[in-house]
Amino acid sequence: MTNSVEDLKEAEVIIVTGSNTTETHPVIGMWLRHLSRYKGVKLIVVDPRKIDLTEEAIMWLSPKPGHDVAWLNGMANVIISEGLYNKKFVEEQTEGFEELKKIIDKYTPEYVEQICGIPADKLREVARIYAKAKNAAILYCMGITQHSKGTDNVKAISNLALLCGHIGKPGSGVNPLRGQNNVQGACDMGGLPDVYPGYQKVHLPENKAKFEAFWNVELSDKPGLTIVEMTNAAYEGKLKAMYIMGENPMVTDPDITHVEEALKNLELLIVQDIFLTETAKLAHVVLPSASFAEKDGTFVNTERRVQLVRKAVNEPGEAKQDWKIISELSTKMGYPMNYKNAEEIFEEIRKVTPQYAGITYKRLGLKGIQWPCPDENHPGTPILHVGKIARGKGLIVPVEYRPPAESADNEYPFVLTTGRNYYHYHSSTMTRKARVLNYYCQESMVEINPEDANNLGIGDGEWVVVESRRGHVIVKAKFSDRVPKGVVFKHFHFSEAAVNKLTNTILDPVSKIPELKVSAVRIKKHVKGTTV
């Protein structure tokens, strides 16, 4: 997020797109409801589904899944053609405006309506409300990014903010909501194949030299494989060993059947986890680790806030904190790691990670600190790009609309989109062991529009087969007007009806994110006892 959650209260308009905020980031969802009810913030939801937040919104636009560049460019078209853009900001703080202008003419709201189904007059209205606002923020999540054109979607969003100067102020910014408790931190720490901690590129000689000196070892300057590429390499026999810490690709990755074959193909699979997950069951060695309640350390939230995690209870049995296991293994392999505690590791982190340089455990206290925090007197950075865009000039990048990899056709007439449910989390390894959460959500159902279901002769709660080009699952149908006609939704938490057997492994060429939000499927009634 370029903003903080708190300063969203300064926004006049908030556009929420591709984020089912009340379910996936519940406390931010509550905050948005509050802002709409008590602070007069105009909430606009752009989402194929009629998510709960539409209750509070002044407008809800429902694009067809996978066509987001179209409506985002449509907004840019209105903002430019009606002269609503922030001329001073565009001139002084951005580059690339002329290039955008060249391609944007054809994205008239009428043309966009044909592609994504948003009525032209409604799109015009939203564009005007956004552009004319004093402060406006855009919030988005995986509904924008998990597409084969996810990077283009994000660029198109960023273009809107730059056109209107809605960036770098309280209540004005571009705000991706990070999914997991420490996905931000895992990225910050270089848990990515192309960067060292602090997003320092591995292929640049100066970074390699810096870390070689610091770690006293020779390093590779060749960027590594991303998660889906690893699966493919294992499948092809190029990858021989994998060490998986606290992840469950057998539920969360696209095309699970393929993942399983790939993992079974490895000579060595090490899984380090707190439960015997679907992935751990395939391992050669399983190492028992500690849960968050048994750990000291830090997590980083969606607003870049580094916060202290404190040990409350002891690990069960012989389980150990992850960093201890890694240290012991490393020492056994001839590279000694002798850290006394988590804080000592953090002290090393801040020496090599410029954004963390000024953060200490002592300073974190109960409130945490938002990075970048370059020195110990720096208060942290609640809002990014204040006064000046971080890279110098905000780069407006024209992006053209391209359709998703799969569309509904005669053979597979529905579009399946996936997401989370309020009561469960990711592969549900943790949430399914909590009674309250299970009480509310025990089985996974596919949400289908009642009209579609009637046409297929399917009743509410009846078993259906949902089938894509990659596999099938058997689940109950749940009538819901949350999904428009032609679209079905299923959450991905439960392994017994794993929706990721159906999803597409096609990747965005830049971010390498899989297109989990758009898969073509067909649906039929399931007769018990028959094979599919």
Partner: protein, 345 residues
């Protein structure tokens, strides 16, 4: 703007209530139905204060201060009024503090203690109210303990935006009821708003008093909002999750997962020993054997096929410190940049 509270001359901003100014000045005015994150309603009347020239006392929580006000917060008249309010509440409220979950951290208990309400002269026998099902099985509503402050109702409306609860009935029959039970999301915000033991949680079979438990401030392990929470620990076991309104960015607000999703920590299904594959089975082993096997096998594969034949998945669930060491291990010890995690999933 100049005002006087208890003889102290104060310069204050316009638009603030008497209570807000008093708080800033460190002057204590008792409250019960007031919560900082809710709109003030002046319903319980514990915050009454005297204002010179006003015929009757006013409620400090929702009376804006105006220039020249002379306010007294602790006169005998005011103390007696507050004492009477507490006596009225005690007509309904049973003194079952020894068996109440909130014993030791109950606002009513504190106020009765502060005002030394040792005599209860009102003898009206209020009829006992029946227990009914609440909007979530995670919480139990004790109607006879309820002081009708409506903090639960207002939190559900103003903070959570779900409008599940309302007051039903009046007089002795009045009670809080889920009028829109289908809208309940079991976030437990009503529970945390209750100043007394009228709402208690039913999840943990083990209970602990505030002075028996250890409250450890930490961060929720579910989504990226990163709510601050406190693990309430008794005998090395989490028995409850609470929050501190002054910690983190969530201002004491949690969702169902944060508040009630902690049971996995104590689950009997947790892994407690390293496992190693023997044929088709994973069998228990020692740390030494497990790590020696991993170390020698990784070295063997690295020597035979090269560093890039090995890959690691770090974790969005683990700490920075875990992740830092993990990528350091893959890069420095294995010698490859094949490290990723589920950021894209």
């Amino acid at each position: 703007m100049q005002i006087v509270i208890d003889g102290k001359n104060i310069t204050a901003d316009h638009g603030l209530t008497i209570l807000e100014i008093a708080k800033k000045e460190g002057i204590h005015i008792p409250t019960l139905c007031f919560m900082e994150k809710l709109l003030p309603i002046g319903s319980c009347r514990m915050c009454v204060v005297e204002v010179e020239g006003y015929e009757n006392p006013v409620t400090a929580c929702n009376t804006p201060a105006v220039d020249g006000m002379v306010i007294r917060t602790n006169t005998e008249k005011i103390r007696n009024m507050r004492k009477d309010i507490l006596r009225f509440l005690l007509i309904n409220h049973p003194l079952d503090c020894p068996i109440c979950d909130k014993g030791g951290e109950c606002l009513l208990q504190d106020l009765v203690y502060e005002y030394n309400v040792d005599v209860q002269p009102y003898t009206i026998k209020a009829p006992l109210k029946e227990y009914k099902e609440y909007s979530t099985p995670a919480i139990k509503y004790h109607p006879n303990r309820c002081v009708m402050c409506s903090r639960c109702i207002r939190t559900c409306r103003e903070v959570v935006g779900r409008n599940v609860l309302d007051i039903v009935g009046n007089g002795f029959d009045a009670r809080v009821e889920p009028v829109n039970p289908d809208r309940c999301i079991a976030c437990g915000e009503c529970l945390s708003a209750c100043p007394v033991g009228a709402l208690t949680e039913t999840v943990s079979p083990t209970k602990g008093r505030i002075w028996q438990i250890k409250r450890v401030p930490t961060v929720c392990a579910y989504c990226g909002v990163g709510c601050s929470l406190e693990l309430n620990v008794l005998d090395n076991k989490i028995i409850k999750v609470t929050t501190d309104v002054n910690a983190g960015m969530n201002k004491g607000v949690l969702c169902a997962k944060g508040r009630f999703g902690y049971e996995f920590v104590n689950s009997p299904e947790r892994l407690t020993k390293p496992l190693i594959r023997k044929g088709n089975e994973l069998v228990e082993t020692t740390w030494d054997e497990a790590l020696s096997f991993v170390a020698s096998k990784l070295t063997e594969i690295k020597n035979k096929y090269g560093s890039d034949s090995i890959a690691g998945l770090a974790s969005a669930r683990c700490t920075n410190e875990d992740n830092y060491l993990f990528q350091k291990f893959i890069r420095a010890v294995i010698g490859t940049n094949n490290v990723d995690h589920c950021a894209r999933l």
